[in-house]
C-alpha cells in the first residue's frame, strides 16, 4: 500500500492542497478536486477576504503552519475569478 500518486483519470492537482488566488479580494485554500467550465471544485476550503483585515500572505502563512480552518466542505471557485493556483506546499512566504 505504499507508493506514489495514483489517481488515474484525474487532474494532476487532484487531492493536492492548493491556494487559489483570485482577481478579487478572496483567496481560497483547500484540496483541489477538479476543474471545468464552471470553475475549480475544492474540498475542505478555507476562505480569506482581504477586507477582514488580515493580509493574504499572513492567512496563507498561518494555513501552512497550523492547517486550514475549513469554511466549506465543498466549494466551487468560479472560473472567471481564478487568477492563479499554487500548491500550498510550494508557497514561499
Amino acid at each position: 500500500m505504499s507508493g506514489h500518486v495514483f489517481h488515474p483519470g484525474h487532474a494532476e492537482l487532484h487531492g493536492i492542497t492548493v491556494v487559489v488566488e483570485t482577481h478579487g479580494p478572496l483567496t481560497y485554500v483547500g484540496r483541489y478536486d477538479s476543474e471545468d467550465e464552471q470553475g475549480v471544485l475544492m474540498l475542505d476550503v478555507g476562505i480569506h477576504d482581504v477586507a477582514a483585515g488580515v493580509s493574504k500572505e499572513d492567512y496563507v502563512r498561518k494555513s501552512a503552519k497550523f492547517g486550514i480552518q475549513s469554511d466549506h466542505k465543498r466549494f466551487v471557485v468560479p472560473a472567471a475569478q481564478v487568477a492563479r493556483i499554487t500548491r500550498l506546499g510550494e508557497m514561499s512566504l
Binding site: S2, H7, F66, G67, Q69, L88
Partner: protein, 142 residues
C-alpha cells in the same frame, strides 16, 4: 462512510508493524495522550493514496533514525472516527489534516506535519524532515 475494513487492514498493518500502537477508541486515545509524558509521535493514518501512500513509508524510514520518539501511536482518519476526533483535541490550534503527524513532548505539540507537507514529496524527503524534527525536539533523551 468508512471504507471496507479489509481494504484498510494492510494500511493499518503497515504502521503497526513499525511498533506503533493503534488507538481505535476515544478511551484508548485518552489513555495514551492524557497526561502524556516524554516524547510521542501520533500518526494520523489515511486511505489517501497520494499522501498517505508516501507518509507510511516515510514514517518507517524516519523511525530508523538514531533519535526517535519514545512512543508511537496511530489513529485512522475516516475509519476510527471517535478516536481521531479525540486525538485532534490534543493537537491544540492545529487544524484537522490527514494523513498527518504530530510530535508531542509532555503533552504539547512541538511539531506538526500536515498533509500539504506530505503531498508530492518522496518518503525519503519526508523522513529526512522528520528526523531533523526528532533531533531538534527529542534529542536530549526526552
Amino acid at each position: 462512510m468508512p471504507y471496507n475494513p479489509a481494504l484498510v487492514a494492510p494500511m493499518r498493518t503497515e504502521v503497526t508493524q513499525l511498533g506503533a500502537k493503534e488507538l481505535t477508541t476515544a478511551t484508548e486515545v485518552d489513555a495514551a495522550l492524557g497526561d502524556q509524558k516524554g516524547s510521542m509521535l501520533v500518526f494520523v493514518n489515511s486511505v489517501c493514496g497520494c499522501a498517505a501512500g508516501n507518509a507510511r513509508p516515510a514514517l518507517a524510514l524516519a523511525l530508523k533514525h538514531s533519535v526517535v520518539p519514545r512512543q508511537v501511536v496511530t489513529v485512522f482518519a475516516g475509519q476510527d472516527l471517535d478516536a481521531v476526533a479525540r486525538a485532534r483535541q490534543y493537537f491544540g490550534e492545529y487544524q484537522p489534516s490527514s494523513p498527518s503527524m504530530a510530535l508531542l513532548r509532555d503533552g504539547e505539540v512541538v511539531h506538526f506535519v500536515h498533509r500539504h507537507q506530505i503531498e508530492g514529496r518522496s518518503p525519503q524527503t519526508i523522513a529526512a524532515e522528520l528526523a531533523t524534527a526528532f533531533d531538534r525536539f527529542f534529542g536530549a533523551a526526552v
